[in-house]
């Protein structure tokens, strides 16, 4: 891990954050093969622009905006199954193709471990044999915004767009790469990187 490659985020404005692992995952698309990307965040212009340069299908499901409707994972009888059914209702159809890259952005910070497992099971069913999963994790900070910020590529860097209005903070789960690996069946931690904004970039591979 190195923080040298990252530059500090100017909190007064939306400065792009260098995200080397995100860039690495996208650069793998340089071949002429068709790829499928599953974006689990809000649809953003930068994401569409970036993946529009490649032979690509981009699936977008804004999971953060649906979190308030997620069933209680701690319900002993129905929790995990209910969350899986909830995910099934939101995830787009596979259309006979497997996913090459999953973009979780900061979503995993807002999911309890059981919900990450449920999501991981669904992703494992959709992922291609060499699929990658990219996530931004609040690792250094003990607290994080109660409402998830949204992220968008600016070229191969990332721009954070904090939610407007709500400035409340909640404890950050500070998931470690290994802890998440346990929750994401079939995915192994490939690399981690500390970013200039204090978040940690995790890249997993099948």
């Amino acid at each position: 891990m190195s923080s040298n490659a990252a530059r500090p985020l100017d909190e007064s404005g939306p400065e792009p954050i260098r995200a080397p692992l995100f860039a690495m995952a996208v650069e793998a698309f340089e071949d002429d093969r068709r790829h499928v990307v599953l974006d689990l965040g809000r649809a953003r212009a930068g994401t569409v622009d970036l993946f529009g340069r490649y032979r690509c299908r981009l699936d977008v499901v804004d999971l953060p905006s649906h979190l308030s409707a997620m069933p209680d994972i701690d319900d002993e009888d129905q929790g995990p199954q209910a969350v899986e059914r909830w995910l099934d209702g939101l995830l787009p159809p596979t259309r006979g193709e497997t996913v090459d890259l999953v973009l979780c952005w900061n979503l995993l910070n807002y999911l309890p471990p059981g919900a990450i497992e449920a999501l991981g099971r669904r992703l494992a069913e959709r992922a291609s044999p060499q699929a990658r999963l990219h996530a931004l994790i609040e690792y250094q900070a003990t607290r994080m915004p109660a409402v998830p910020a949204s992220f968008a590529p600016a070229g191969l860097e990332l721009l954070a767009d904090p939610a407007e209005g709500d400035t409340a903070a909640i404890p950050a789960p500070r998931y470690s790469p290994k802890e998440l690996e346990k929750r994401l069946p079939g995915f192994s931690s490939e690399k981690t990187m500390l970013l200039g904004n204090g978040m940690q970039e995790y890249l997993y591979r099948r």
Binding site: R34, A43, R44, A45, V48, D49, F51, G52, Y54, R55, C56, R57, L58, D59, V60, V61, D62, L90, P92, P93, R95, A152, D161
Partner: protein, 184 residues
């Protein structure tokens, strides 16, 4: 699902005065047709809509819209649950269904879109709500299938037509002001 041509076929020709002028004219180049049709805010259309002119939808449309050589704009008041096949598609309003364009799809910030998009070029403005698939692969199956043999597949008559079991009325209504509402 709305292709009920076999059951009932009613045609409401948009711009009827224009259609007689252009019916025998050579096939127009993409987006160079003579006018713009508009489905106004009070109009509901349920069925299949085809034609050879640009279309602005400010009303409710269910079914299929096929204007493969022209542009379709879903205006800010438009509420569409349909599959749309067009040269270019611009969305400001609400859309649930498949958008297939041979040239481009533009999702503006006021848009709420659920469904799939297939086009060689897609742009989405921040603020737009989108859930679904965007296929920008020019060699992709959806685009190839939708626009293969396009020249023979499209009708030869001019003017937008509806084929609908129960169009409320006024589909493909045209107006001189409608053309001013399209900005490309």
């Amino acid at each position: 699902m709305f292709n009920k041509r076999d059951q009932h076929e009613s045609e409401a020709t948009a711009g009827a005065s224009r259609s007689s002028e252009t019916a025998s004219a050579p096939r127009p180049a993409p987006r160079s047709s003579s006018g713009t049709a508009m489905i106004g805010p009070s109009i509901n259309v349920d069925g299949k809509l085809r034609g050879e002119e640009d279309l602005v939808i400010e009303g409710k449309v269910k079914g299929t819209v096929e204007l493969k050589n022209n542009s379709v704009t879903i205006g800010s008041q438009g509420d569409v649950a349909a599959d749309i096949y067009a040269h270019s598609i611009f969305v400001d309003g609400t859309m649930d269904g498949n958008l297939v364009a041979s040239e481009q799809v533009v999702i503006r910030k006021s848009a709420r879109v659920k469904g799939s998009i297939a086009a060689p070029r897609v742009s989405l403005e921040d603020g737009a709500q989108f859930n679904g698939s965007i296929d920008m692969d020019a060699k992709g199956e959806t685009l190839s299938k939708a626009f293969s043999g396009q020249k023979s597949a499209s009708g030869s008559s001019a003017g937008a037509k509806t084929e609908s079991p129960h169009s409320d009325t006024g589909a493909g209504k045209t107006g001189s002001e409608a053309g001013k509402q399209v900005s490309h």
